[in-house]
Amino acid sequence: MLSRTADHLFWMSRYMERAENTARMLNVSYETSLLPQSAAAVEAGWEGILSISELLPSYLSLYKSINPRDVMAFMVKDVDNPSSIISCLRAARENARAVRGTLTTEVWETQNQTWLEVNRMLKSGEFERDPGQFFEWVKFRSHLSRGVTVGTMLMDESLYFMRMGTFLERADNTARLVDVKFHAMNNDFFGAPQYGAPETESTQEYDFYHWSAILRSVSGFEVYRKVYRDVIRPERVAELLILRPDMPRSLHASLNEVVSNLALVSHDRESDTLRHAGRLRSELAFGRIDEILATGLHAYLTQFLDRVNVLGGRISREFLMPLAA
């Protein structure tokens, strides 16, 4: 298939996945902000959202303070913010439009319909009336988009590049989420000075909401209970989201999908990209959470994000935009 076509398919899925993850984060923050808590805690939560996407500086150039309404407006409907939901959905649809002939009718119409609908919802004020409902809608459009892809696309390269995009983006987004949320709790939560400080009842309670919010943002609350049958402990949350191969939004599960789809498009030829992806995946497969925490979670995730970024670049150079004739 055309390299440019593969590129559009890859990015179409990435943007759709990004829209979903942004909606997930915003939704959880929105729900959390309805709980009684200090103004400082509320602000810290919303600030976290902006730092996840590395958007704090551009947000502060537009708004004076960090408050739910402005952050949501910025992250949902600001067309000048390339990471806003509207920008992601537009980019997904534009990429789809560029290769609409390669997509099944159902996949294309799903993307196009999502784009038409989101514009309608934002113009009509539906989003402001019920942000929660809107975030759910975005999430379900993404579910639909993935489902219609798997359910209708021929199982060839087109599908493999789309899947690769989805899971590379998911690996990135989950890593960012874990990083920022753990970071918000404490300066490098694990191994940092505050670890082991006496817990008061109120911090315990706050912890519960904090960790359960992270879990819910990746649809992992029930999963956690099912897997660990235990109260919510930060190190287990980290383990679930980083290392568990059966948790669909974990780094490990995402990398598994990236590697298997890469293998499918690499055929028999030697692929440096595949080798790198495989190595990253092995570290997740054979890693242990106590080792990761001992080195420092933040340092670990920062390095992981760098490597995912490099992997994206390699996929691009090897398959999507080959420079050499």
Binding site: S3, G101, E109, F161, P322
Partner: protein, 483 residues
């Protein structure tokens, strides 16, 4: 002015139901029986589906409030344009004849120039024509076919006895568009009104992409039994992008942009995820000027450097061929009947509209004296831009055109204002007659063939004669109806 309506031999008026032509009778009865509410909701349904499917065209220069290019729907009218099968037979024969002669002409122009030597067409008309491509002189193309896909615009106007007479208004031999609307309009009609198709024997058109693929494969220069065909598009912001994507998908071939192609050792390749892949046939939807920056416009990023070399070496087919514009130019149009006689020794089946060539002093004088009654067209204009419709223009517009004409008479032709035939159409106030034309798509490969009918365009503004979608025109499904 005399009027000819496709559906009514006598238009309905207050207290008079009018008189319906024979081939429209069954449809008229059906329409009569429909609830206006239902028709209105069908219209909305059609619009909703077109939007969801994304059958849109981009309007040059227009911007949405959020800064992206506007995507507009081409209005679709629910009332079909019906042509009786035996009438179509004559038209089809005329189209085959005309397109055959045009292809012979283009070949001749780039080879022996017999028609110029015989004095049928003045030599300077060709050699001074901006659409004449010296690069093509002496270049042989497969089957000597240049215009593989021809969009021939046909209009109908009443003769002195009030009978409808078909005229060719324009030959489009470069990158004619609109065929996707012909196909989508039919699909929409069958979806909205399946019962109509069980009551009428409407000739199908859905096999067009098949014929197109057959035509393109037949033009392959390669010895390979399985030529690789691609559609070359300027990209998703082109106004006809939907059509490019649609045709590529329907034919099951790659839709490429210039950046996807490269030339090595005079062969054309596309960049794929598995490395370079050779391309044998390019159905290009990019104008000559943009095809190869090393030969034509050097700033173009829409084409591929080295393409012309590969083409001239016979390693790739370009459809339509480079240089077909020399035959569809409005200054050449008046000579097409002469071409038919010259190359085929036949009388033209389809009529030309009488045309005044403003480069001739007598014709210029006549044109200047009759501007308010004439249609004046720029020789190189297209898409309904750069033309004057005398009867529909203000004094100022006419005077402005007079100035332009005097400054550059060679740049214009003039024609009597034809009263284009009308067809009942849904408008704000209900159903009213609106002017229409017809663009059949003629395919020339090993044989000349076409699907029955074509794209009917309709001028939605009352009294307007301009049917172009860029000027607010709409489309209708076109039925070739067997008895």
């Amino acid at each position: 002015m005399r009027q000819f309506d496709e559906m009514y031999s006598r238009l309905p008026a207050s207290g008079d139901a009018g008189e319906v032509r024979k081939h429209y009778e069954a449809y008229a009865r059906w329409l009569q029986a429909q609830d206006p509410q239902m028709m209105a909701s069908r219209r909305e349904e059609a619009e909703m589906i077109f939007r969801r499917v994304g059958i849109t065209f981009a309007v040059y220069g227009d911007k949405d409030e959020d800064g992206s290019g506007t995507e507009r729907l081409i209005p679709f009218d629910l009332i079909p344009r019906v042509i009786a099968a035996k009438e179509w037979k004559g038209m089809e024969a005329g189209l085959v004849q005309r397109v055959t002669a045009l292809n012979r002409f283009i070949h001749d122009v780039y080879h022996d120039q017999e028609i110029l030597k015989a004095g049928v067409i003045p030599r300077e008309q060709i050699e001074h024509n901006a659409q004449f491509r010296p690069e093509m002189v002496g270049v042989d193309v497969p089957n000597n076919i240049y215009s593989h896909i021809s969009g021939i615009d046909i209009v109908r106007a009443p003769d002195s006895a009030g009978n409808g007479e078909y005229y060719v208004l324009e030959d489009n031999l470069r990158v004619p568009s609109g065929v996707s609307y012909m196909l989508e309009d039919r699909k929409m009609m069958m979806r909205l009104f399946p019962e109509l198709f069980s009551q009428h024997r409407v000739a199908p058109v859905a096999h067009y992409p098949d014929l197109l693929l057959e035509t393109l494969r037949a033009s392959s220069p390669a010895t390979t039994a399985e030529p690789t065909v691609v559609v070359l598009t300027p990209g998703m912001y082109n106004s006809a992008y939907f059509e490019h994507a649609f045709l590529a998908q329907q034919m099951g071939v790659e839709l490429v942009e210039g950046q996807d192609l490269f030339v090595k050792d005079k062969f054309v390749y596309m960049r794929t995820t598995r490395g370079p892949k050779r391309v044998d046939v390019i159905y290009r939807r990019v104008d000559d000027d943009f095809l190869d920056p090393s030969v034509f416009r050097p700033t173009s990023t829409l084409g591929c450097a080295g393409l012309m070399e590969a083409y001239k070496a016979g390693h790739v087919a370009i459809c339509n061929a480079v240089g077909t514009g020399v035959a569809d130019d409005k200054s050449i149009y008046p000579y097409v009947p002469d071409m038919i006689k010259f190359y085929l020794g036949e009388e033209p089946i389809l009529k030309n509209v009488p045309t005044y060539k403003c480069r001739k002093p007598d014709d210029l004088q006549y044109t200047l004296a009759n501007l308010k009654d004439l249609v004046v067209k720029e020789v190189h204009g297209a898409g309904g831009y750069g033309m004057l419709v005398g009867p529909a223009s203000t004094k100022e517009e006419i005077e402005r055109f007079r100035g332009a004409l005097l400054a550059n008479p060679e740049g214009y032709i003039a024609q009597p204002t034809l009263s284009l035939s009308s067809c009942p159409t849904f408008v704000e106030s209900g159903i009213a007659p609106r002017h229409i034309d017809l663009r059949p798509f003629v395919l020339s490969g090993r044989t000349v063939q076409m699907v029955p009918g074509g794209l009917t365009r309709v001028a939605l503004k009352e009294g307007s004669l301009v049917v172009n979608s860029s000027q607010g025109g709409g489309t209708k499904d076109t039925w070739i109806l067997q008895d």
